[in-house]
Symmetry: C2
Subunit: 410 residues, 2 copies
């Protein structure tokens, strides 16, 4: 006879329990320092302040001559000022000479303004002779970007919680910072259980099927900003599973297993978790995913997902993704639904929330009617819809909310 | 006197030239095989077909007894069929015995159906005695997923050009495939030029500024699905720049330099590219980015971006991003604009297309009015708007299209 589940909980109760567990176990998130070269896409764990003024000196914003504005006040095309060039200052140079009345220094964009100069006249309005002829007047401050006018020392350049975009990385490096404090990527161990499983790199073997959950879940974990660690395939053997789980929680923050949670003869995850820790949830009134298990071993969370590939990914999306994204500091960007009409009538099973894979075509939602063991449906699906537990039939044309499988960026 | 640009081209002409260059030089894209573990987010270079049927055998979709349906046709609660159990088949086992009339085999979900059996009766409707009592009738095929019903051998599992999502990776691994052909990540070399530049890891030095473009451009390159290689800072020295560019094109597909393109005294990129190859564009009628250079050295494209951080990133976004994304096989997802009203009046420079940084707040667009040397504006901006070249003033409230800096995922 099939084994009973502990207590079937509903989905909102499951979320309440999981949310509390994450808060209790994984808060506050770990921090690490990474080199700016590896910081793209990471999430800042602290505000980043500038240790310097930017620009760090009064800076020329044009090519021209640095001079005293008062020397040019009456300059015009017909009546140029004549100044003596005392120095050539390229970007990166340290000006050596002070600019006095009657003098000027040739200066390049980006170079430091020499002492004494308070304006720049663009090279276009000058002529080089023995001396320099200045054909336009300048106002004090002209074409000079003052020290600290962009960012002042101790200004916040990028806020805690922000994702390190190219723009933010540019600003941080401009302040001379080469390492940044980011939220450490939570390490998620992934186990597949089942005597029938073999690695995709092997040859096909009678009676066996290739393990796909390890690989699909690892990719979904990456998408949440976490670091997956594939721990391999474990046989439906109490000792082996127990060992794998005890070792897994040592090196990972969270453990995800798939398979081994239905009431089959090879089922033993619940016993293993119970004997090594605590089972918090076993059985949720949803379809697929009823046999989902959530427990704690060595103070780390262990999630037991169903073995069928479609079920495993949907349950991951519903029960794990929001919390993993929060844990890694990623706002669930684009974690939204799209409302569209159903292309044809759909039957559901009353009494459980039902998640059904769908394809979207011509702004209509086509349910994919294969069972949750079907892989093809997975590769083909655009997302899934959630059918409330009191609904048995959804009519053609009725509006449903599609949770899209996101456009995955890397 | 400032040097002249070759021929100022307009933006649509620049795009036409760049598009043709990419087609001529980088088509078709390179392919590589990667392990499934590293395939997440990559783009398939070829269709992936299944080498096997899925499921690879007739598979039990329930726990129960595999039997001949005809043995159960008259079974009921009051009048069970009595069958002899000849074998226990777990998932992963190879069935050893043929099921004949009057016999059955205990079977687990996912296990191979034994020869002779054509149906499964769920364990819930049976009772174990000396023999097995079957309380329900079964129809032929009941709870059996036929071999190949999910995917047939040679079916396409994932199409060329598709991004390897968790779902697609799941389907591919289920077919026993462990390596996939993906578009090779184009390698983009990044040089920063200027005597004034030092690495952010160094101490602050008089007259110098920290190089930010290398790091912001590297991040932007990653966002396009390409692989950045930071080649370091090069002095404004003809020989040094020439060497860096010649070496850079050897190991990279495309070279991006920033700085050294304005008419300053230290400017020499154009000469270097001309002497080592060909300059196709020097000067585009846009603001910022007028001094942008596009050339070819050793058959590889060289892009000379402006030195100011804001200008460099905007020009990257306008002129490089669409082509790099196409090259890496990523559809420019979310590469869209959002139309919103301007929060206040904005002046532009007539005669050139003007890209202005903006911040979006309360569904209004606030132009950021700092010069393009300003870093703070960069960290703070949400995107930019494009102002046509014949427009001098945009009134408060007029609708503008914001190109958002994307939410960067990793």
């Amino acid at each position: 006879m099939g084994r009973e589940f502990l207590n079937l909980v509903d989905i909102s109760e499951a979320h309440r329990i999981i949310r509390n567990l994450f808060k209790e176990i994984y808060h506050p998130p770990r921090m690490e320092k990474v080199n700016l070269k590896n910081a793209y896409g990471r999430v800042l764990a602290q505000d980043v302040k500038s240790p310097i003024d930017l620009p760090p000196f009064n800076r020329a914003s044009r090519d021209g001559y640095a001079l005293k504005a008062e020397d040019t006040f009456h300059a015009s095309e017909d009546n140029p000022s004549t100044l003596k060039c005392i120095e050539v200052i390229e970007a990166g140079d340290i000006p050596q000479k002070k600019v006095k009345r009657g003098c000027c220094s040739r200066i390049s964009t980006g170079a430091q303004i020499p002492e004494g100069a308070d304006a720049i006249v663009m090279v276009e309005y000058t002529e080089e002779d023995d001396n320099i002829l200045i054909y336009r007047s300048a106002y004090p401050g002209q074409h000079i970007t003052p020290k600290g006018s962009d960012i002042l020392r101790n200004d916040i350049i990028a806020k805690k919680g922000s994702i390190l975009s190219p723009e933010k990385i540019g600003a941080i490096s401009a302040a001379g910072i080469s390492k940044v404090p980011v939220i450490a990527k939570p390490k998620i161990g992934i186990l597949s259980t089942g005597n029938e499983l073999i690695e995709p790199s092997n040859d096909q073997t009678p009676g066996k099927i290739f393990d796909s959950n390890s690989h699909s879940i690892a990719a979904a974990v990456k998408n949440c900003g976490c670091e997956p660690k594939i721990l391999g395939i474990v046989k439906d053997d109490y000792k082996e599973l127990s060992k794998a789980i005890r070792e897994g929680v040592l090196e990972c923050d969270i453990l995800i297993t798939s398979g081994g949670t239905s009431a089959g003869a090879g089922d033993m995850l619940r016993e293993v978790v119970q004997d090594n820790g605590e089972v918090m949830i076993h059985g949720i009134s949803i379809k697929p995913g009823k046999p989902t298990l959530i427990g704690k071993v060595d103070g780390k969370l262990v999630f037991g997902l169903p073995g069928f590939p479609v079920s495993a990914l949907i349950i991951f999306d519903v029960l794990l993704r929001p919390y993993l994204m929060e844990l890694s500091g990623k706002t669930p960007l684009g974690y939204h639904t799209i409302e569209l009409p159903l292309a044809h009538r759909l039957h559901s099973s009353k009494g459980r929330i039902h998640y059904a894979l769908v394809k979207v075509k011509n702004s209509k939602v086509y349910p994919i009617l294969k069972d949750s063991g079907a892989i093809a449906s997975l590769a083909d699906a655009d997302g899934y819809i959630k059918i409330p537990k009191n609904v048995e039939i959804l009519e053609e044309g009725s509006k449903v909310k599609v949770s899209p499988f996101l456009p995955y960026e890397c």
